[in-house]
Assembly symmetry: C2
């Protein structure tokens, strides 16, 4: 395929092979977990020889490290852009939720690995990882600090903690899908979850507060939600009630 495969050039600088292996690693990690798989699995998934993995990556750990950097850097960049942009806090929070959910929509497996294997990787964990997670939280904490100074936040809210809570909500919301608590194949559901996360975070869940979608300050690009005549969402919640174009995506194991 890549005609000019002569090493040196290649705009991407990242050989096709290398990318294949990385992709395979993400899939295998997502399926069996970092510790639960052997390099052999990755190689097989990628359809390459065992040794080739070592040609491109120093060792198993570097492989995970790379998966991390690849996925995380993209997310953090977008999140930072939002956090540092101008505009009302409400907007920013919504957009951050957007970024996270979009990432999930585009590549759920990668997000799963990020959430399950990396964000919470135990103490010893080399490099960034844990640090990285802390970084985003610090980053958005600044956003909250500014918002607070601008009088958008309740004065008794701690910026750092608020930041942690926002990401905690987002993460757990995503986890619900990752873990299968909610059906992730349903785009509408994702959209709804995203909206609720932002709303709950901003206005709380209690009745009587500022009504949630009160101000569509900025019209959402999509309006997948009808009048919100909430269905009797009993204990069997996040499972789309009535009919729905059951876009049956094949459950890839």
């Amino acid at each position: 395929m890549g005609q000019q495969k002569t090493a040196p050039e290649n705009g991407t600088r990242e050989s096709e092979r290398r990318r294949t292996i990385l992709r395979a690693a993400i899939d295998v990690f997502a399926r069996k977990g970092y510790h639960g798989c052997r390099i052999a699995d990755v190689a097989k998934e990628a359809g390459v020889a065992y040794g080739l993995v070592y040609h491109y990556f120093k060792n198993k750990d570097e492989l995970l490290e790379t998966v991390f950097e690849t996925g995380w850097s993209g997310f953090i960049a977008r999140a930072r852009a939002v956090a540092e942009s101008e505009g009302p806090l409400v907007e920013k929070v919504r957009r951050i939720a957007d970024v996270a959910f979009e990432a999930y929509r585009v590549d759920p497996r990668a997000v799963k690995v990020l959430i399950l294997e990396i964000a919470r990787s135990p103490a010893g964990a080399r490099i960034n990882r844990q640090t990285a997670f802390v970084d985003v939280i610090r980053l958005s904490a600044q956003m909250f600090t500014h918002a607070k100074e601008a009088g958008e936040l309740r004065p008794d809210v701690d910026p750092l903690l608020a930041s942690a809570l926002l990401f905690g909500s987002i993460e757990m919301g995503l986890t619900a899908f990752v873990v299968g608590l909610a059906d992730a194949r349903d785009a509408v559901m994702l959209e709804r979850a995203k909206a609720q996360i932002a709303d709950s975070f901003l206005h709380g869940v209690l009745l009587g507060g500022a009504s949630a979608q009160a101000e569509p300050a900025k019209a959402e690009p999509v309006k997948p939600e009808p009048p919100k005549e909430e269905a009797p969402s009993d204990g069997a919640p996040l499972k789309r009630e009535k009919a729905a174009p059951k876009a049956r995506a094949p459950k890839r194991g």
Copy 2:
């Protein structure tokens, strides 16, 4: 120490030794992570011979499993009690946060292991674990469902998701301490964080909405909580700073 060490009796039925090993396991897991330590480490920490660990536990996995059950069952029992009790949602949410933070205060290491190693253990994870986590969420989801029926919740809030968000907030709040983002040795800080988590979740972080402690539409019929004179949760950041008795102590109700 029980003089009568003859096996059969012993009210606890759990030998002193066994408990020592379990404790050591918690500490070591918390320090180096499950995969990052060997049985030998646990044995050394406990001050017993390598083989003894296997005398009390079938294998390494059972050890983790036990750590899990031990810590988790206690938490889930308390959480369930709160969720199924009578009273306004506001109260329940606060008390659930209480339970979680109290657990942390009592045994931070154990909580760390629970959060880092078990709650998010990757896919394949045997038994409960992941399931257990899902269970609490389902459990509290019911609580939200009832609250919704009682008109305490905004109608557009999905119970299951709300539940996930609550625990997501709690977990991330705790994680902030676990990871060292915030100083966990300060009891006041913990108290403050706990309060903010409940408040933010209930009323949102925005200024202007229902003021934090504003009463929701439905007045609380019960006043089950004693004054609970808590630390003044002012706006001070997670880093304890000098006085800033910014008035407003969120004395609920």
